[in-house]
Amino acid sequence: MAKSNEPMVWSLFSAGGMIAALVTPVLILITGIAIPLGIVGADAIGFERAQAFAANPIGKLILLALVILPLWHGAHRFRFALIDLGLHGAKTALGATCYGFALICSVLAVVAVVQI
């Protein structure tokens, strides 16, 4: 019996799950609710500050982790949801499609963030 290579995507899935559960809701709260409602001043995340954050190497890493890891989480979850709905035979094709999508978006995110 061959050992599976699933740990590769499962580790990204787990890390993405942590971020999606713990960090993403906070970001939505701040950027989507608190700032529009004026609870937090809009200048807290104004253009200059946001750009300075994204230009910093550590800021870049944080942005990439926030974008890329939940992408892989979603891709893995979506693949297994479809398998559970009866597409067991298409397991490999679904893997190529879902992880391929996550990979392309990850590369695009890296390109975009590095250019800032």
Binding site: M1, K3, S4, E6, P7, F80
Partner: protein, 248 residues
Amino acid sequence: MAEKTIEIEVLRYDPEKDAEPYFQTFTVPYVEHWVVLDALTYIKDEIDQSLTFRWSCHMAVCGSCGYNIDGEPHLGCKTFIRDFYPNKVRVEPLANFPIERDLVVVQDDFIEKFADIKPYIIRERHNTVDEGTYKQSRAELIKFKQYTMCINCLLCYSACPQYGLNPEFYGPASLSLAHRYNMDSRDEGREERMEVLAAEEGVWGCTFVGACSRACPKDVDPAGAIQQIKIAATSDWMKEKLMPWGKK
């Protein structure tokens, strides 16, 4: 006063006679302290001797009397008919296994998988009698103790939607028992077991639905064990693929 009764609806199937399974309803006395197994025993003794079901200890130790009761996997000896009264109780064989006859299922698939994960202590060398027993601390015992409570009743296999979809999957009880031996400080068989556990049909067949842990009548947490094996398999994979120079 007329004696109180309760209806027990049982799935019947004799592959030599019946084209397909069918339900048969029996009316039995309602006794407050009766469990489903008592009602089945009454039917077999007093109404229909041909009714076939497995049972042995009547005290949730042997794991023989697992049935689907009202659509959920339960032990017949732990499920009281008073919890259903005055409604009828529907008893079916465990899901996800072929029916041998009536409530008896064919367990071969589980037995083979169970043997594959080597559910025993593996050591290169065992102590002689003179060398005495192996010492184990309380902390070492706690790591695996809950998994020793498994009675192989197969309720978790009946509850697991992944095993239902993909019979290749090793399933909850086998995997959590493998974990029980992997976590035992006296055992040296982890590497051998990981060959099966880390395969596609091993822990990776699980999507953490958690139905196994909910169904377990002995409060074992197979879903938790499987997630812990996933972490161990991931750490092994990283060491093997990303740091091959570190390989023994």
